[in-house]
């Protein structure tokens, strides 16, 4: 059959596929009943996991802000963003991934510190990371650190050999930088 020879001379429509990577999305919402469930349902409906999520009130009454981290295909995430905008209770949705922004996360790590040496070491590491020891027992130190993803990953790696008994993270919060091009010395 000549059927396919005809086809081959024709251009095919390109099916665009985006890169898969981590996205960080800020969502400002009216703090109404069920709004979190709605957002979670929408993201789950696309088959994605939420990597981290943080929610809190803003300075305006009844308005909350969420930061959502998801790993996914750029094009599907673009869809997610558009659909989030469509929700009645969302006010502003912004994918910060490619926009200069500040990211912070707070983590609490309970480390096994039975010996004086372990306590000294952990304290020293904590100081280097500008963290604090916020709880002490005979067996443990609980360390609080704030930072971006790399910093948190680094301290977790350094503390692991001592034995981490418990760890809790707040999930990231993020904010667009006003002067996008300027390196922030505090980073």
């Amino acid at each position: 059959m000549s059927e396919f020879t005809v086809i081959e001379t024709r251009k095919l429509r390109e099916v665009r596929k985006g890169a898969t990577r981590k996205h960080i999305i800020n969502v400002t919402v009216r703090n109404e009943f069920g709004v979190l469930a709605r957002i979670a349902t929408l993201i789950a409906g696309k088959g994605y996991n939420i990597e981290s999520l943080s929610v809190g009130e803003t300075h305006e009454k009844g308005i909350s802000r969420m930061t959502i981290e998801i790993i996914g295909d750029d094009i599907v995430i673009d869809q997610v963003v558009k659909q989030l905008r469509k929700l009645i209770d969302t006010i502003k949705v912004r994918d910060l991934t490619d926009i200069p922004h500040v990211e912070r996360e707070l983590v609490l790590i309970k480390v096994h510190t039975p010996t004086a040496r372990a306590r000294d070491e952990v304290l020293r590491i904590t100081e280097i990371f500008r963290g604090k020891v916020v709880d002490v027992s005979q067996e443990t130190y609980t360390v609080e650190v704030t930072g971006d993803e790399d910093k948190i990953r680094a301290i977790v790696e350094l503390l692991k050999p001592f034995g981490i008994k418990e760890m809790a993270r707040t999930g990231k919060i993020a904010m667009k930088r006003e002067l996008g091009w300027e390196e922030n010395p505090q980073d």
Binding site: M1, S2, E3, V6, I7, R10, K11, L12, R13, E14, V15, R16, V29, R30, F33, G34, A37, R38, T41, L42, G45, Q79, K82, Q83, R85, K86, L87, I88, D89, T90, I91, K92
Partner: protein, 583 residues
């Protein structure tokens, strides 16, 4: 004045202009039913099953453009509404679904007849509300109607805890503006970006082989006049989806009829070969595009849609225009007129129309009629003739739905009421009833499959109860026909669980329900029955047409395949040499 929450519900519905509610009462919603009885002002159609009520509300909305309202009790009443809610979501039908709920203090306790209907329907609603304070009632109801009918329309659920409907309040009914002022994040974008409109006009004037691809969004926006003007002014052929039918008259010389899986040969060929595709309120559904890579492969695409999330979802487009279809088309027309824009390639444009006419002549929609056995297509053609093409048709889902789409020529918007996105068997009869309630001035035919009909046939009794003279034509092939067709074509005729030859006597069934029943087994009986049915105005008619059992729907583009794999009648492939234009 202090009155019960339930009274506030009815008052606000009246303020919103609601004329009909379709529903069925129960414990949790009884206060509202009591208020309906006491306050009056709204007519209620008591369906025999909540699914029926939901589809009636949809049919009413699809036929009139007004918001359809269904009201049910909590628990099983609410879960019976899930299918209509999903259906309304998929086809963007403006609807408000009111569900009773257990009293607030019992929510979450697995109380009697409690389900989390808000949770269950979250992914299939445009929005939903659980009312927690009696004072919120009029605000919530007004917001629900606003959300349901504006932007891309859709279903909104209002869940009413029983105690809220019992509490007293003297809250007054706010104005629309006041009620919606707190929806600060909801502002549908209407006007279309002027830059994009200029680009679109440029592409339209430069194109040699343009096609307009029109979906339900054009019907929702009531853009038929603008569409006709644009098509005629710029000489652009028009194809529509199942939901877009009637937005452009199918008896117009520029009409290509329907595209997609069961589209016409010429519509699909035109889309395959065009160099500019103008999508208007359509969403590139997979039943339309087939294999995406080979959908309009050489065309630039303009996409006009009210819903930004619909744009570049399935196919990346060149000129996206977010806005109300009617407003945007008007701006495009204005721009064309202001600039005195002309078709640049007159000669190529005329050749394109000639080519399309050749395709139309080569493979028109046809079937082989018979004088021994009733062909389903013949029944549809006869319905077209006895109604002079002026009836509203609603359909179930399956072969009969596609034959209706093919062999009835639709000429005005809201004329073909069917379940496109969800493909809900059982939609046809209740939706037809809702349509007739909304448009008593126009005859309404329900074209149903024997399988589809049996899914909601209890609503015949509802039509008898309210003397709603819908005319139901059952295209009875004794099969789940569309599934059988796929088994024939793609599963070597292994007819797994599709035989419906054990079925009720539909004539006796009609009579038992208080309707009129007719049966036709020979082609010569078809016309007479239809004419008789047209004369009955005081109750529903059920016509049982025993048709050729193994007739197939062609043309057909198998799922996920390209238009080039189209199967014409008798399983023939089209002559490949004729399918493509060079260059």
């Amino acid at each position: 004045m202090s009155r019960k929450g339930a009274d506030i519900v009815i008052e606000t519905l009246i303020e919103e202009g609601v004329e009909y509610i379709f529903g069925l009462p129960g414990g949790a919603i009884m206060e509202v039913y009591d208020a309906l009885y006491r306050v009056g002002g709204i007519k209620h159609i008591l369906a025999r099953h909540e699914q029926g009520a939901g589809h009636m509300a949809e049919g009413y909305a699809k036929a009139t453009g007004k918001v359809g309202v269904a009201m049910v009790t909590s628990g099983p009443g609410a879960t019976n509404l899930v299918t209509p809610i999903a259906d309304a979501y998929m086809d963007s039908v403006p609807t408000v679904f009111i569900t009773g709920q257990v009293p607030l203090h019992l929510i979450g306790n697995d109380a009697f007849q409690e389900v989390d209907i808000i949770g269950i329907t979250r992914p299939i609603t445009k929005h939903s509300f659980l009312v927690k304070r009696v004072e919120d009632l009029p605000y919530v109801i007004r917001q629900a109607f606003h959300i349901a009918r504006t932007g891309r329309p859709g279903p909104v659920v209002i869940d009413l805890p029983k105690d809220i409907t019992q509490q007293l309040s003297d809250v007054s009914i706010p104005s629309k503006e006041e009620a919606i002022s707190s929806l600060i994040g909801y502002k549908p974008h209407l006007t279309g970006n002027p830059q994009q409109i200029k680009k679109a006009v440029k592409l339209i004037t430069e194109a040699k082989k343009p096609v307009l691809y029109v979906g339900g969004g054009a019907v929702n926006a009531e853009a038929q006049d603008e569409l006709l003007e644009l098509a005629e002014l710029m000489r652009i052929p028009v194809t529509t989806t199942t939901q877009g039918k009637g937005a452009f008259p199918e008896d117009h010389p520029l009409s290509l009829r329907m595209l997609g899986m069961h589209g016409t040969y010429y519509a699909n060929m035109a889309v395959y070969n065009c160099d500019l595709l103008i999508a208007v309120g359509a969403r590139f559904d997979d039943r339309v595009t087939g294999k995406v890579e080979e959908f309009a492969p050489n065309a630039k695409i303009i996409h006009i849609d009210i819903d930004p999330a619909s744009i570049s979802k399935n196919i990346i487009v060149d000129v996206p225009i977010v806005g109300d279809v009617k407003i945007v088309l008007n701006k495009i027309l204005e721009e064309i007129k202001k600039k005195g824009a002309k078709i640049l390639h007159e000669r190529e444009r005329e050749e394109w129309l000639e080519q399309i006419n050749k395709w139309k002549k080569m493979y028109p929609l046809t079937y082989k009629n018979s004088d021994k056995v009733i062909k389903p297509q013949y029944v549809i053609e006869q319905i077209y003739e006895v109604t002079r093409g002026e009836a509203i048709l609603s359909a179930g889902v399956g072969q009969h739905q596609m034959w209706t789409a093919m062999f009835y020529k639709f000429s005005f918007p809201r004329q073909f009421i069917n379940s496109g996105g969800l493909g809900t068997m059982g939609f046809g009869l209740p939706a037809g009833i809702g349509a007739k309630v909304g448009r008593p001035d126009i005859p309404v035919f329900v074209v149903d499959g024997d399988g589809s009909f049996m899914m909601t046939m209890q609503e015949v009794v509802t039509a008898v109860h309210y003397k709603i003279p819908v005319k139901v034509a059952i295209i009875n092939n004794g099969y789940l026909g569309m599934v059988r067709q796929w088994q024939e074509l793609f599963y070597e005729k292994r007819y797994s669980e599709v035989d419906l030859s054990i079925q009720p006597d539909f004539v006796k069934l009609a009579e038992a329900c208080g309707a009129v029943g007719f049966r036709a087994e020979k082609p010569s009986e078809v016309r007479e029955i239809l004419e008789e049915a047209m004369r009955i105005e005081d109750r529903p008619v059920i016509m049982d047409f025993h048709v050729d059992r193994e007739e197939n729907v062609f043309p057909m583009v198998p799922a996920g395949k390209s238009y080039k794999d189209m199967i014409l009648e008798d399983g023939k492939s089209p002559d490949v040499e004729t399918m493509y234009l060079v260059g």
